[in-house]
């Protein structure tokens, strides 16, 4: 049961459209005007400090956890230092764009155009990136839907899990300052190499002072409010808030309440410094439980109070809105910030780590129904039955939460990426389904690569089917292919070319990040950065894992190559030329051939004929990508994640031999093509598990829809638990379920006002169904529903 306070905040979250605050951008810009010529890390640290010092304080009604990034409860901010151009271009339509609209007033627009954007002209990360990007890569990699990495140059990187366990909670930001000062004392400005480190430590000292100041300003404001407050209960709450903000994040937290406020201040610091994607709370149950158990023993907290604080934190996570371009919003739909919070799983020591906070986190997500945090669970083969039961019960609620991960596959993925076993065992999720660890610097969603384009270019002389533009490598006409092997070879030739450009996009972006956007605040949350005096953006983390290239359309490509093999070379029902003509005609006039193409073996039904092709594509992807190294010398990584990228990537993709038409969605992660996994979920799982998932250390994603009746009873949920364990026994990493009936989803589409809080799984994350564009809603309804037999 939610408390009345939480329900009120929840209602406001569900019913309010997010608004943009320009305060952060204003202060950030003014600060930069004052620091021209100084080292860039110092400039950014000072801008952060000034923001902490000047940003108006907002304590909203009924809040127990405080700290706001702007004047609105549901609020987004602008980061013009990364990109102002897309904002300038798009903000006039912010309010009514199809995906993730924001409120921004005409006065605000006029203000930022007059006072903010002119300063950043020619100074933003976007402009530097585009200026450096080779033309041939830009042609295929900028706003094309073929290769997409705009979240890496129109936005910050994010993708960090602050280290509460070894840095933040033991030291507090006061302790971090002391550590930096003592480190600095050992360095000499006379030594050129030391100069950079001194600047780094100075930058961290400045940001640490900033976040402490920010908290103290909230303490002051809470005290002021308490003075004026007539309600006795609220008055004492405000005084408790003030006391918390005086102590944390400067000092190590002592109580559960302080710890949770500390977590939120850290999140605030991250947001203000770079408006990040995937700033992950990490293993919340592991670092919070000691406080809970201690407070419980001391009698200073009850389970209900702790639950209310967790609910309040969940709402805080959800009220912040990641301000992104319409293009990025297509890929990361649903106001999603990808703050991944992981519970359950083994401890560093290898014991089961579930504890009371694990269960409270599941309960909070079930009751408060927020789209954040992205709740992930780790399941190992010997995990407590109660935990698996709680997980499957939450699945049965239909919210798509939690994302369910195999403990051992995550461990294996990190081992393969070069982690120490103890660290690998301590993994948490980043973003949607990336196995990650808190001492890591990694671009976990570096580029989305449209696999389907390689099919298109192979069969259409290197050109886009829909635009006729030459986008791929030159190729002979499809009619000249004499064997299936030749077709496959042509596909891989185009495929490898896409890999190559993905690498260029990433390393170019990495270099501008090093030059332009050091990350002092987030570096202060990293043990090795503090130890070695190296910023995160320069590879300061203990582990610098190679950037992750995400493959989109594995299912479409496997199905398409299988259809070519079956129709043209095995059954000889048409020639290559006829097939290519059918694709060019978008199958119009070729209905009979299309029916045969649709009847060809489809990935997701445990049919080796086509699954073998999927495995070959996935393995080639890994080997090709892994052969490249990033600017720190780390080999690139691969993933088959979801996000909503299969929609925009499908939109630019012409008809494919699998029977798909122009512009229809592609496939996500390792999921089958919509509606073609017609056997059982077991067959879909089996196909997906064939893919050597553990080599793709950027994560793999399988989305399945189950008829709600299947999981309506305890027994049905227990069977779901068995299903999950079996899938993981096959070596798979992640699975996620939507259990809402198509009827409910259609009703929500027709009467959105009645279904504002209806959460659905998109891909790798859940969000409010009504916040998705019509096309994405349709795509979700179209996913195969596995009914009971």
């Amino acid at each position: 049961m939610l408390t009345e306070r939480i329900e009120k905040i929840r209602q406001s979250y569900v019913n309010n459209k997010p608004s943009i605050s320009t305060d952060r951008a204003r202060i950030w810009t003014e600060s930069h005007k004052r620091t021209e010529g100084q080292p860039v890390c110092i400039r950014r640290a000072k801008a952060f400090y000034d923001t902490c010092a000047e940003l108006p304080v907002h304590i909203f009604e009924g809040e127990l956890i405080v700290g706001a990034i702007g004047e609105f409860r549901r609020c987004g901010i602008l980061t013009p230092e990364f990109s102002w151009k897309w904002v300038d271009k798009e903000m006039d339509t912010f309010s009514d764009r199809a995906q993730d609209p924001y409120v921004i007033t005409p006065e605000q627009r006029e203000f930022v155009r007059r006072e903010i954007f002119p300063y950043w002209k020619d100074k933003s990360l976007e402009e530097a990136f585009l200026a450096r990007l080779p033309e041939e890569t830009a042609k295929i990699g900028v706003d094309t839907g073929i290769l997409d990495n705009d979240s890496k140059w129109r936005q910050s990187v994010g993708e960090i899990t602050p280290d509460y366990q070894d840095v933040l909670f033991p030291l507090g930001f006061g302790g971090i300052i002391k550590k930096c000062e003592s480190k600095k004392a050992l360095l000499s400005p006379a030594n050129a190499a030391d100069q950079e480190k001194i600047e780094f430590y100075d930058s961290v000292i400045i940001t640490s002072r900033g976040i402490i100041l920010y908290a103290n300003r909230y303490a002051n404001a809470a005290e002021e409010l308490a003075k004026a407050e007539t309600d006795e209960t609220r008055r004492s709450e405000l005084l408790a808030i003030a006391e918390n903000c005086r102590r944390v994040p400067e000092n190590p937290p002592e109580t559960f309440y302080e710890a949770i406020q500390f977590v939120w201040f850290t999140q605030i610091g991250g947001i203000l410094t770079e408006n990040p994607l995937s700033l992950n709370p990490g293993r919340f149950d592991q670092y919070m439980d000691p406080f809970y158990e201690r407070d419980l023993a001391l009698g200073i907290i009850s389970e209900a109070k702790a639950e209310e604080l967790i609910d309040a934190l969940w709402l805080k996570y959800s009220e912040w809105v990641w301000t992104i371009s319409a293009n990025t919003a297509d890929y990361f739909a649903g106001y999603n910030q990808f703050q991944n919070l992981t519970v359950g799983g083994k401890t560093r020591e290898g014991l089961d780590g579930t504890n009371p906070v694990t269960f409270m986190a599941l309960k909070a997500t079930e009751e408060v129904k927020t789209h954040q945090p992205g709740l992930s669970v780790r399941i190992h083969q010997d995990c407590p039955e109660e935990f698996l039961a709680a997980v499957t019960e939450l699945v049965s609620r239909g919210t798509g939460f939690p994302a369910i991960h195999s403990d051992s596959a995550g461990y294996q993925m990190l081992l393969n990426a070069g982690y120490e076993p103890d660290d690998a065992r301590d993994w948490n999720n980043c973003g949607c389904v990336v196995p990650h660890y808190r001492k890591t610097g990694e671009w976990t969603a570096a580029v989305n690569m449209n696999f389907g384009s390689a099919i298109e270019y192979a069969l259409n002389e290197g050109k886009s089917l829909m635009t006729g533009k030459e986008m791929g490598l030159k190729e002979k006409p499809a009619s000249a292919f004499a064997s299936y092997e030749e077709v496959e070879e042509a596909f891989f030739k185009q495929f490898k070319n896409l890999c190559y450009h993905s690498i260029v996009l990433t390393t170019t972006a990495q270099r501008v990040h090093v030059d332009m956007v050091p990350r002092p605040f987030l570096s202060s949350c990293m043990e090795a950065c503090l130890e070695d005096g190296v910023d995160l953006s320069r590879g300061g983390a203990k582990y610098n894992v190679g950037p992750v290239i995400t493959g989109i359309g594995l299912g479409v490509c496997a199905n398409s190559l299988a259809a070519v093999k079956k129709l043209v070379f095995d059954d000889k029902v048409c020639t290559m030329g006829e097939l290519a003509a059918a694709l060019k005609a978008n199958w119009e006039g070729y209905e009979e051939l299309r029916a045969k193409a649709q009847a060809a073996p489809k990935y997701g039904n445990d049919i080796d004929y086509v699954d073998r092709i999927a495995i070959k594509i996935a393995n080639t992807f890994y080997h090709e990508i892994h052969g490249y190294k990033d600017i720190f010398g780390s080999p690139f990584s691969t993933a088959f994640m979801g996000i909503s990228n299969y929609i925009p990537m499908g939109r630019v993709l012409g008809a494919t031999p699998c029977g798909r038409k122009n512009g229809e969605p592609s496939t996500e992660g390792v999921s089958p093509y919509v509606g073609t996994d017609t056997s059982t979920p077991l067959a879909a799982m089996r196909s997906a598990a064939k893919l050597n998932q553990e080599i793709h250390s950027g994560g793999t994603l399988l989305n399945l829809r189950l008829n709600h009746d299947l999981v309506a009873t305890k027994r049905g949920q227990a069977n779901l638990g068995s299903l999950i364990q079996s899938y993981f026994a096959l070596g798979a990493f992640h699975v996620q379920f939507n259990t809402l009936s198509s009827k409910v989803l259609r009703a929500a589409q027709e009467r959105p006002d009645d279904y504002r809080d209806l959460l659905v799984r998109v891909a790798g994350y859940s969000t409010q169904f009504v916040n998705l564009s019509k096309s994405l809603q349709d795509a979700i309804i179209a996913r195969t529903e596995h009914a009971e037999f």
Binding site: A712, R715, G721, S722
Partner: protein, 269 residues
């Protein structure tokens, strides 16, 4: 003298259904064997008779191979194989060969049976089951004959004998308004179970119409038409407009009757 046990390497399979979750524990694979001694007018697998032809023949090894491939999904939650039909015991030699192979692999085995079989001939098979679903369709021999084409005396006798095997036993009643869904019949059923299969639990399966389309496809008169012909034989208190789905209240009432007889309820939903 020891009984001569029949083994058949090949038999007729209607269908093999994976991810079966309502006929036993855990995630199961259901093997539908063709052939049935009864001819229930509501049968939801009327294609069964046609499945005895050559195109549905499968060897024991083929079936075991298909099942074994799914076995990873049995390991959690006590899943396994369920034999259904038709009447699973109809192809006795084939069922025996399948059962022994799967038993030796350690899979959990269940069977759904209409109870119409020669007990001495199949008891060795039934002993290898972890769970037996035993149908009781009607207690009144006249109505049993009317709706299934066979007498129920042997079936009732078999329930008693199966109960003696000590295998976990679930009695299932397909509850059909207009056929058997009336108090007197349920009362008699429960009395019989309590007296002859005291360890059995009861699962009521409400009638459904999912098989109706199959009759149209096969060009056979559907359950409703058959019922229309037969209903004149029924007492006015039992007959209905057509065979119908029982209400939840009715099912609860029947479970209450069972409880009053000390019979536990069970559900595999």
């Amino acid at each position: 003298m020891a009984l001569e046990r029949e083994y058949k390497k090949e038999g007729s399979v209607m269908q093999i259904q994976h991810f079966s979750v309502n006929d036993g524990d855990g995630i199961r694979t259901t093997v539908f064997l063709a052939g049935c001694p009864l001819h229930c007018i509501w049968c939801c697998n009327p294609e069964n008779a046609g499945c005895l032809d050559a195109e549905h023949r499968m060897t024991v090894d083929e079936v075991v191979g298909i099942v074994a491939k799914e076995s990873i999904f049995f390991r959690n939650g006590h899943g396994g194989v369920t034999f259904s039909g038709g009447e699973a015991t109809w192809q006795q030699g084939y069922l025996r060969a399948l059962t022994e192979q799967l038993y030796d692999r350690g899979y959990s085995l269940s069977i759904e049976t209409c109870g119409s079989f020669d007990f001495a001939g199949v008891s060795d098979i039934l002993e290898k089951m972890d769970l037996i679903f035993f149908d009781l369709k009607h207690m009144d021999p006249r109505f049993h004959r009317l709706f299934t084409g066979a007498d129920n005396a042997a079936i009732l006798d078999n329930l008693k004998k199966v109960s003696g095997l000590g295998v976990r036993l679930v009695v299932r009643i397909p509850v059909i308004v207009g056929v058997n869904a009336y108090e007197e019949n349920i009362l008699k059923t429960c009395e019989f179970i309590a007296a002859n299969a005291p360890a059995a639990s009861l699962e009521l399966l409400p009638y459904h119409r999912f098989g109706a389309d199959k009759y149209v496809k096969l060009g056979l008169p559907g359950p409703d038409e058959r019922y229309e012909e037969l209903r004149v034989e029924l007492a006015p208190g039992i007959a209905a407009e057509r065979m119908d789905i029982p209400s939840d209240e009715m099912l609860e009432h029947f479970y209450d009757i069972a409880a009053a007889h000390g019979i536990g309820r069970i559900s595999f939903k």
